[in-house]
Symmetry: none
Subunit: 421 residues, 2 copies
């Protein structure tokens, strides 16, 4: 068969254990990655158990909608391993006994000082017309079955058997079908919602199938994933991505904080480092998360001096030097307190920048006037202070995360201004 643009790929994972609550199937993610490296996109993923009718059903469906089917699992020696038999039945092909495979399986047991259980004989049967794929790490051989219209691949389920077999036997075969070069980029934004992003860039969505744009929303972060395909060269694919990236950048401007995979805390870290500036943070409702994210960046000790989690009013006064009158007059969650926290920590730590975050992370503690999700974030530097008032939605941990994201983004924007002047 030939690979075209509309060639559909399905990964079919077989095994009742994959349908139990504690099992995390990982083969399909690995296969998706390796196929993507060849410019091949998976259209369907399916999981089916060992029930004979269900299995027949799933195989028939895969054959009806996909051109390349990679089936994993169900090649073992036991009664409930029936992918081989089910595929043979659907294709109306015979299973052929291979003496040489049986001998290899027997030898494998002998090397371990064991004799082969009778059940393993089943693994020496191969669907008529299929190429045998050697399994160096287990007893079940794989199969590669190619017809005019379809390619069907059978791989063993255990990842340590599947991966080497894929790399050695499947990758080189598939590579021959791939003429497509793929270039990928992820644009990350902060301080903008998914709908706002969509509104700004939706008219840029390409009409060509050689370029794909998809938008993913995370708390406080929207990502725009760009993928370009070229039948000619990687340079051409990259050119497509560069072009659309320029257009998106012109629309989203400084909402964009990275297009090279970096997280916001890494971008802020690099800006601080390059400007030889230092940071300290005073957290109330984020409770240490902001410090935690900043210090997830290796080498952050170069620019991050200190974090204080001042959860009680007493600690806001004693550790950050807040005037009790501010707390008394405006409350712990207020613009004035955020500002005093940012200034206080900057002073205490003798850093160039100070961030202060105070709010109500919930689930309780909200009032009509100061609802759950109300968060004030202040940034203090040598020449000034700025404060943002935010209302974040979601559970406690999401409110904490969005607050940390906003705080980092305020600092990023301030650091960018330094560049300009």
């Amino acid at each position: 068969m030939k690979f075209k643009k509309d060639t559909k790929i399905e990964i079919l994972a077989v095994g009742s254990e994959l349908l139990t609550p504690n099992f995390q199937e990982t083969n399909s993610q690995y296969l998706t990655q390796r196929l993507a490296d060849l410019g091949m996109n998976v259209s369907f993923k399916s999981v089916v158990g060992d029930e004979w009718e269900d299995l027949l059903n799933a195989i028939k469906e895969s054959l009806s909608r996909a051109h390349l089917i990679i089936a994993t699992g169900g090649l073992g020696p036991t009664q409930d391993d029936r992918t081989r038999e089910a595929l043979a039945e659907v294709l109306k092909r015979k299973l052929v006994f291979h003496r040489d495979i049986l001998e290899k399986i027997e030898a494998r047991f002998q090397r371990r000082g064991l004799s082969m259980p009778a059940v393993n004989k089943r693994q020496a049967y191969i669907i008529k017309g299929a190429e045998v794929l050697e399994n160096k790490n287990g007893t079940a051989p794989g199969m590669w079955l190619e017809t005019e219209q379809k390619i069907i691949v059978l791989l063993p389920g255990p990842p340590h058997e599947l991966k080497p077999m894929f790399e050695e036997s499947i990758w080189p075969r598939l590579k021959k079908f791939s003429r497509i070069q793929v270039f990928r980029k992820v644009i990350k934004t902060a301080s903008i919602t998914e709908s706002q992003t969509e509104t700004l860039i939706s008219d840029l969505y390409p009409k060509t199938t050689s370029l794909n744009i998809s938008t993913l929303a995370y708390p406080g972060q929207i990502e725009i994933h760009l993928t370009a395909f070229s039948g000619k060269s990687l340079v051409q694919a990259k050119r497509q991505v560069d072009e659309i990236e320029r257009k998106i950048a012109a629309k989203l401007k400084d909402y964009i904080f990275s297009s090279n995979g970096e997280e916001l805390e890494e971008v802020v870290g690099k800006l601080l480092r390059s400007q030889k500036k230092t940071l300290a943070v005073a957290e109330s409702c984020t409770g240490g998360l902001l410090s935690d994210r900043i210090t997830n960046v290796p080498g952050s000790s170069d620019y991050f001096f200190q974090g204080i989690v001042a959860y009680s009013n007493e600690s806001k006064i004693s550790a950050l030097g807040l005037q009790p009158s501010i707390l008394h007059k405006h409350g712990a969650v207020s613009l004035e307190t955020a500002q005093a926290m940012a200034r206080g920590i900057r002073e205490k730590a003798q850093s160039d920048y100070g961030l202060g975050v105070t709010g109500i992370a919930g689930p309780s503690g909200g009032t009509a006037e100061k609802p759950v999700g109300l968060v004030y974030i202040a940034l203090a530097w040598e020449k000034g202070t700025e404060v943002s008032k935010n209302i974040f939605l979601g559970p406690r941990e999401k409110i904490k995360y969005q607050s940390s994201q906003k705080a980092l983004d305020m600092l990023r924007r301030r650091l960018l201004k330094n560049h300009k002047f």
Copy 2:
């Protein structure tokens, strides 16, 4: 419809992002778990992207082979969210505009001081005949569609929207169909490895299929999942779990920190609260993670006074009152520094307990004498101090996490001793 033994269930996850290499789909595992709690087994899991024909195809296939179909994702406001439209087309039903839903979505934006983008209007359309499932954590409502032969459920993709909707709206509806009683319990341990756990409890593993034990390992935490099934009563299932739990508890003793779902930070929080004790922490290598975890517990402000992230030597001296001679003589990563940090923060914050954590989180900064992963953790209280020396393995974030886990567990064990004397 009615549930029988051969009732087939399919989980259909919709979204092109689920077919990209870096996305780990978790909803289907959660749903499988919750269905298993009702004695309902999933027969098929499928993933399909946003391509219109593929989506129609996948929905048709689900309808042809399953009786209960739970579709997740593709209910968002953007152009590529089309689960609603595709299901309506396959079922040949109309989409009906619901003014009250639109008003709720608009109100949601207004609460955040934003105006609703026009694209969100699509989310106010409901398939004719479907019951609307309220989404308290997002804009997309869910749907429950029941016919004589099928139940079709549409849920939003983001887990923090899907889970509450499932618990509030789907669980009670499905519970009516369930005849099998399942009782489940998770025993959580700290300060013990997976193989140590296995060695202690492996002879307790049951021979009956009505009771299942499985062990899951997380950084610094081993979980033992117990599941019992009964065709008769929940009491009978619970009795089985209680019996095995008693035996496991006799073996694992105080390694167990919870068997009611609580995380370590919640257990520690409850102990502090019940003993009317307070806490402050001084973090170096954990960088705020310890404070972050403590403050993830709602109401933690009652017992958590203050956290200080003292990343630099200067801040260890100025914010924690460390004597420079300790740092000079023993280094920032040492038993003595950890001890001085714990004592220092306890003094500063005027709390009953003080925790101090200092170590090398890596990936660089290690030496032969003080390798990456070396972490000293100290606990100070009125009458003493204790310090543990640990060597944790793994990447930076895993070392940070294990350190925070160990610190919390040291405090838990100390608080338990208070109970006894």
